[in-house]
Amino acid sequence: MLGYLRQDGNKGIRNIVVVAYLVECAHHVARTIVSKVDNEDVQLIGFPGCYPNEYSLQMMEKLCTHSNVGGVVLVSLGCEGFNREQLAQTIADSGRPIETLVIQKCGGTKTTIESGVEKAKAIFQQIQSTQKVDMSVADLVVGTICGGSDGTSGISANPAVGVCFDKLIAAEATCIFEETGELIGCEHIMAHRAETPQIAEDLVKCVEKAEKYYTIMGYGSFAPGNAEGGLTTQEEKSMGAYAKSGASNINGIIKPGEIPHKKGLFLMDVVPDGDPMFGFPNIADNAEIVEMIASGAHLILFTTGRGSVVGSAISPVIKICANPETYKNLSEDMDVNAGAIIEGKATVEEVGEEIYQQTLMVAKGAQTKSEELGHKEFLLTYKTFENIGPSCLR
């Protein structure tokens, strides 16, 4: 496979221009620029809040310099709290073309849109000459998430992704699983897979943090559709979700936006540190997808039982359907039918191999169902994290 070579040596599997609004007040202008350019490789991201937040600044820096991103147009209203100068500097330092448009200085909505369309098209043209170089599985960062889980997820799609993860890790890729709130109940089982006793201790601690946080929020990471699909408790959902991580050693814990420092399997601790401040850790699946992308994920393996249809900006999302009934109903949205395991027509191993092959094809440029259908969801909200690093949980 070939990848787009970036200045930092990383390789991308897509070459996207992101148009990023830096406050909700600039959202309409940024969205209109993207819709007028009407190019699947020019995509909208953004942050809605006006108050400054270290996490969201760091997330936007990582997203705008992601290996799948070739260039950036920032759209600011002008008076918001977002540190657009720092973001623009980080992007420029990464060697990517970057333009900043400030609506209050550009003469308003109409002229900013006109200027933005021109600049996005120019950057798109400019990055068509990005050098393409050999890329191997070992260069890939792959994340996994489950959404709209049901009672079949934990015995079909999730363990099949686990098989795929084990294959990726054997080929020296980097894999990320996440949502510590959906590991409540399996922390001690998971700790047995830790590479070191310290990591084992930290795995347990970060799940305990999630349990405490969700208890204060009043709801677990559990949706009504999970129950309709046969899941009864948080810990039942957790055991199913945990199967996505496969059987490899767990090499470390990362926080959103932190790039894994070596190859292997990493748990992303998505629950904020300190007293709950900004509400639920992740208000919907796309917030978790965005966090894995900010940690370098080139593509996302998304398992679903009830039938999620989402994709994402920046990185392709491969949809793996756990439930054969759902697959019949939503087959146009699904890349892999893991429901065949439930029907006794395929084994977990076989579907795991199919997901692995699909991952390679998408990395080589094949479009996923969600890409074909134009899904480019994006969600970024406020959070607070203490220092990242081995001692981040103490």
Partner: protein, 99 residues
């Protein structure tokens, strides 16, 4: 005979998982014994493999996934009406469950 509609995930489990929609009145085979289903069971849902006492742990994947809140008979639907989380209560669109 067609494949059993209910599968055992782990030998230690005391519930089985439904893999094909089953109707009320249908006969389910559990460890070679026949049980008549008193309700319809959808794919992904659980039925009891053995009689469970109130407060007994419900085991799936070989680990506890919550506790029974009433006595449950083998073959009965096991869900929010008769079991609850040992961690955080679940909820439906209408209400919280198992509090």
């Amino acid at each position: 005979m067609s494949r059993n509609k209910f599968i055992l995930v782990n030998q230690a489990d005391n519930v089985l998982i439904c893999c094909q929609p089953a109707s009320s009145g249908e006969v389910a085979l559990i460890d070679d014994k026949k049980y008549t289903l008193s309700t319809a069971i959808d794919v992904g849902h659980k039925i009891a493999r053995t009689d469970l006492n109130s407060l007994e742990k419900v085991i799936r994947y070989g680990v506890p996934i919550g506790s029974a809140t009433t006595d449950i008979k083998a073959g009965e639907h096991v869900h929010m009406h008769n079991m609850k989380s040992d961690y955080i209560p679940s909820h439906t669109r209408q209400a919280k469950a198992g509090e």
